[in-house]
């Protein structure tokens, strides 16, 4: 575990491994896991290899307990962050015996690639700070936002007959029908299941109405279950679904939220 005294990551203070309760997490201050990793490595106060991510997770749970409430927004943000940190750490770890099986990448190349990504992220972090300064400098300047007086307004309400071609509409629709290719996530080793996939799966179930989490992951492996849970958090965050669990380890019943229900119904009515 990190033995050095204070490890400050932005506003998150990780003081002492043994008193994890002192962890102050303010996830707003993280601008990304690369940022976090860069800070960690640069400070040399922690060797990422030695950092037990589980400890950080425990600390976070303690922190949640102390606050007495579960803020799903920041919980999801935390999961994303920790997942990314795990990924990065595993990149460092897999250079050994399992390397061939997992990735066809030399440790040197992996380090180089990781460094490149960290530097890019760092660069934009600098640019972001600069933008915030600019915004600060412009403080107090407001602009007028008023419509033109009626007598100066252009009249465009009378469209020219046949000025646009209907083919443009057909082409636009065809563009929307094209399925996007899978985004390369080569660096996250072997992707077996994606959040987008599970999102689509959950949405399909939601269209039918209420269902249980058990149903959603029937016969699935552990990774899929985890990713499905993550997709469910995402749906909750977007306000598309909510769930109930009447007792610990009981059935989780998932229902569509009002807005989405409206969509679903509108669709089935129109179809």
């Amino acid at each position: 575990m990190c033995e050095a005294g204070a490890l400050a990551v932005g506003g998150a203070r990780y003081r002492d491994a043994m008193s994890i309760a002192s962890l102050e997490l303010d996830l707003e201050v993280f601008s990304g896991p690369f940022d976090l990793l860069l800070t960690l490595v640069l400070r040399e106060e922690v060797d990422l290899m030695e950092l037990q991510i589980a400890e950080v997770v425990l600390a976070y749970l303690d922190h949640l307990e102390a606050r007495g409430e579960l803020d799903l927004e920041s919980a999801t943000e935390f999961i994303v962050l920790i997942a990314a940190l795990l990924e990065l750490k595993s990149r460092l770890l897999i250079a050994g015996e399992d390397a061939e099986e997992l990735l066809d990448i030399e440790p040197e190349q992996a380090a180089e690639e990781l460094l490149e990504r960290m530097l890019t992220a760092h660069r934009y972090r600098g640019a972001a700070a600069h933008l915030r300064e600019l915004l600060q400098r412009e403080h107090g300047f407001r602009y007028r936002c008023a419509p033109l007086p009626a007598h100066l307004r252009r009249v465009v309400l009378d469209p020219q007959e046949g000025a646009e071609s209907p083919e443009a509409l057909g082409q636009a629709l065809a563009g929307l029908l094209r399925m996007p290719p899978q985004i390369s996530i080569r660096h996250i080793s072997v992707p077996r299941v994606s959040v987008a996939e599970r999102l689509a799966h959950l949405r399909a179930l939601l269209r039918r109405g209420r269902f249980s989490f058990e149903e959603a992951v029937r016969g699935a492996d552990r990774v899929t279950v985890a990713v499905t849970l993550f997709a469910l958090l995402e749906l909750y965050k977007r306000g598309e679904a909510s769930w109930e669990q009447s007792e610990s380890f009981g059935e989780i019943a998932i229902t569509a939220c009002a807005d989405d229900g409206r969509l679903v119904a509108a669709r089935s009515v129109a179809a």
């Binding site: 252009r154 646009e164 509409l169 629709l173 029908l177």
Partner: protein, 195 residues
């Protein structure tokens, strides 16, 4: 110009609607008498022939307006014929409405993979789409208008070109709406949040 008159000028500049003396007094934390005096000062400052702006008293409040002498120039600047072509976002939204009408805004967003709010607003403003009742759950539905037919030189919606010639995967049998939604979800990782 005194500080209070400067503040008032700024407030009137920012407000598209007339601002009452009592609102100005509250905002500047000055008395109404002081505000009235400052308005008088501002009026002198903006007297005809002195500046490009005028102070007007309208409907129980004050307002800044451009000086009438500048009207000719304003007309030249703002009434230049602007080609009102459709942006890609507007074309997409219009195509979706044309094919799936009546349809709600959140569903258009789902299909596009991004919010359709601003495109829908512009199309409404240009009169190319119009409201067409509500879904049974209260979402506003949209359909294309007669202006739309005119702009595209159509006499009937049946004249819309057959999608088959551009269809990237013609072998697919599913319903158009279903297919569009599926592609939209794959693109956006889901619809726009909050809708």
């Amino acid at each position: 110009m005194a500080a209070l008159a400067r503040s008032i000028e700024a407030l009137l500049f920012l407000s598209p609607d007339p601002v009452s003396i009592s609102d100005l007094a509250d905002a500047t934390e000055a008395g109404e008498d002081a505000v009235t005096a400052a308005l008088r000062l501002l009026e002198q400052e903006l007297a005809p022939g002195r500046r490009g702006l005028r102070l007007k008293e309208v409907g129980g409040g004050h307002l800044l307006a451009s000086a009438p002498e500048a009207e000719e120039a304003a007309r030249r600047l703002f009434s230049r014929p602007r080609v009102a072509t459709l942006t890609p976002a507007q074309a997409e939204t219009l195509a979706i409405v044309a094919d799936l009408q009546p349809i709600s805004r959140p569903e258009i967003g789902r299909i596009r993979g991004v919010s359709a709010d601003s495109a829908t607003a512009t199309l409404l403003e240009r009169g190319l789409i119009e409201e067409s009742g509500r879904s049974q759950f209260g979402a506003t539905l949209y359909r294309t208008s007669t202006s739309f037919m005119k702009l595209f030189g159509l006499t009937s919606l049946k004249e819309l070109p057959d999608l088959a010639q551009w269809d990237p995967s013609p072998e697919e049998q599913a319903d158009l709406r279903e297919r569009l939604l599926r592609a939209g979800e794959a693109r956006g990782g889901g619809g726009p949040a909050g809708e």
